[in-house]
């Protein structure tokens, strides 16, 4: 099965970082297999580093924006504008004592946070930053993300149960109930997009939106689906107004109550990586992914440049990465603003919203999309 690892960092068909890397190493006298083995971990490492840096930026944004919302200054002394504050937070968590409560189940207590974090990081496999700028263009694309995100509640239930604390258990149960409820409208919203682009692959979904710049983005064709997806993504990330599993007035800190040190940091990391991932996927599914508001091909043609020229390819590739990250962080900004603006919903309101409102609307959206696809195949993907 693992015959060839699809290439990361290939800007268009012209520049192939994988083959140039391996051929350079072969030039030093290494065998082809060894060069390939040395290449393999690089894209994964790069994405891991990108995810962690994304979290650091996210934490800093959260602190600064919450301060601005509440008319405070926020972190100020750790680096310029407090940019080093997230590093200080991380280091503090790293050096804290790793406490396992006396009556807790040590094995499950340790395994829980790992099971929460690993699926989230694995999902980065399918996030594209450019035509070939992803770890793996697997055929099942977004479906892989939906499947992987369904593993997370098991980790939450595990840590809730192993903590031997009633608040933790209730938090874990709530997290699982919330996750199951919102997964269904989320999957239905994704299904409508998949139906329009005739493919589950994230690259194909972006390419289908790249015809006429900003006008061809899916948000205009799927406005209801976009809202459903965004609400469900916030609920899946347990962000306010849906952070019931850790509602501090009711449950102390939910399933995180007994956790300290690095194990708590894993939860923290997991939730922020998940937020960035969700924002990236909203950008991919509805906001044209790496696409520029007007097609770069037009710009290149206006400047009299060929799109296949190496320099133009490097520029469009970098532009793609910048656009993806920009769109994602715009959505992260909205999520943070929502967190510091809206009050928390009650658990019965949360479940009512999921089952009685979002699920029927998502089904109707799917039906309407199918009808429009049959009626206007030119606009809704033939």
């Amino acid at each position: 099965m693992i015959t060839s690892w699809p290439d990361l960092a290939v800007v268009g068909p012209g520049i192939d970082l994988q083959s140039s890397f391996t051929s350079t190493l072969e030039g030093f006298g290494l065998s082809q297999g060894t060069a390939y083995l040395l290449w393999l971990p690089l894209p994964m490492l790069l994405v891991l580093v990108a995810a962690v840096i994304g979290v650091l930026v996210n934490v800093w944004l959260e602190r600064k924006i919450s301060a601005a919302v509440q008319q405070r200054i926020g972190p100020e002394y750790a680096g310029a504008l407090g940019v080093l504050q997230p590093m200080a937070d991380g280091l503090k968590l790293l050096f804290k004592e790793d406490v396992i409560p006396n009556r807790a189940d040590g094995l499950l207590f340790t395994l829980g946070p790992v099971l929460v974090l690993v699926p989230v990081i694995l999902s980065w496999l399918v996030v594209p930053f450019g035509q070939n700028l992803l770890i793996s263009d697997v055929g099942i694309g977004v479906f892989l993300w939906i499947a992987l995100s369904s593993i997370q509640p098991i980790g939450l239930l595990m840590s809730g149960y192993a903590s031997n604390n009633k608040y933790s258990l209730l938090g874990g149960l709530r997290a699982a109930a919330q996750s199951i409820s919102y997964e269904i409208p989320l999957a239905l919203a994704v299904l409508a997009v998949v139906m329009m682009s005739n493919s589950l692959s994230t690259v194909d979904i972006v390419n289908q939106q790249s015809g006429a710049g900003i006008l061809s983005w899916n948000i205009w064709r799927q406005p209801v689906g976009f809202l459903i997806f965004w609400i469900c993504a916030l609920a899946e990330c347990e962000r306010l107004p849906f952070d019931l599993p850790e509602a501090e007035e009711e449950l102390v800190a939910g399933y995180q109550t007994e956790y300290a040190g690095m194990k708590f940091a894993l939860f923290y990391l997991g939730s922020y990586i998940n937020l960035v991932l969700s924002a990236l996927l909203v950008a991919v599914l509805y906001l044209g992914g790496w696409g520029f508001p007007f097609p770069v091909e037009w710009l290149a043609a206006a400047l009299g440049q060929s799109v296949d020229a190496p320099l133009v390819q490097v520029i469009t590739g970098s532009l793609g990465i910048v656009m993806t990250v920009l769109k994602a962080y715009l959505l992260v900004f909205i999520a943070i603003l929502l967190r510091w603006t809206l009050p928390r919903v009650r658990i019965d309101q949360l479940l009512d919203l999921g089952w009685k409102f979002l699920l029927p609307i998502a089904l109707v959206n799917l039906l309407v999309t199918a009808a429009l696809k049959l009626a206007f195949p030119a606009f809704f993907g033939g």
Binding site: M1, I140, F143, A147, I151, P153
Partner: protein
């Protein structure tokens, strides 16, 4: 031996070991919560084996349905009712265990015999890779349409049943026969759950 085949072999051995040891744990461990978590591991390793067989869509569906829905619901049920109480002594426990073990061993031998005597087509058909998703869809809506529709009707029935069970207002007399309803089926005695049967009876189906 290429890198691909070595990776494949290592993955196969690791997944099979997790699968076998995990399933043994599911059956043999006394703690039911451990069994449920191990079941998730077993489902995941089955998904991994599907992945090794180039069936990525089936693997993802396996994770989504079995790990994400079935296993989470099992855990949910266990954690909502998990009371730590000492089990009553079961008479003849050892004999029961030996007997059930013998039955399982017999079944295992039967499967082993089938496995060894069947002329397997080696190597199997050429894997389709990513096209398999499209092909599964085409098959489901052409030659497998009847089983597909039957399964959906079955699920619809289960859903309606769940809604009927979850509804709180219960009629005090049976709608069809007119006899008094069994009070033992109603959980809370103090809350007025029973509705007096007036004109509401005819509306039951509409309400459902």
């Amino acid at each position: 031996m290429t890198i691909a085949s070595v990776t494949q072999l290592v993955c196969f051995i690791a997944l099979s070991l997790t699968l076998v040891l995990g399933s043994l744990g599911v059956v043999l461990l006394p703690n039911i919560v451990y069994s449920a978590f191990l079941l998730a591991g077993v489902f995941l390793s089955v998904a991994g084996l599907y992945l090794l067989l180039n069936a990525s869509f089936v693997a993802a569906a396996q994770v989504l349905v079995y790990v994400g829905a079935v296993n989470v619901l099992i855990l949910f049920a266990i954690m909502l009712v998990n009371k730590k109480e000492a089990m009553a002594e079961i008479p003849g426990l050892l004999l029961r265990r030996v007997l059930s073990g013998a039955v399982c061993l017999g079944l295992f031998l039967l499967i082993l015999r089938v496995d060894l005597t069947t002329p397997w087509a080696v190597p199997g058909p050429i894997p389709l890779g990513d096209d398999s998703t499209v092909l599964i869809g085409i098959h489901l809506f052409s030659d497998y349409l009847l089983p597909f529709e039957l399964a959906s009707v079955l699920l619809l029935m289960a859903m309606i049943g769940a809604i009927v069970l979850a509804r709180r207002d219960v009629f005090s007399s049976d709608v069809i026969t007119g006899e008094a309803a069994d009070q033992g089926l109603i959980e809370k005695e103090r809350t007025p759950l029973l509705l007096e049967s007036t004109a509401g009876e005819t509306n039951l189906l509409e309400k459902v």
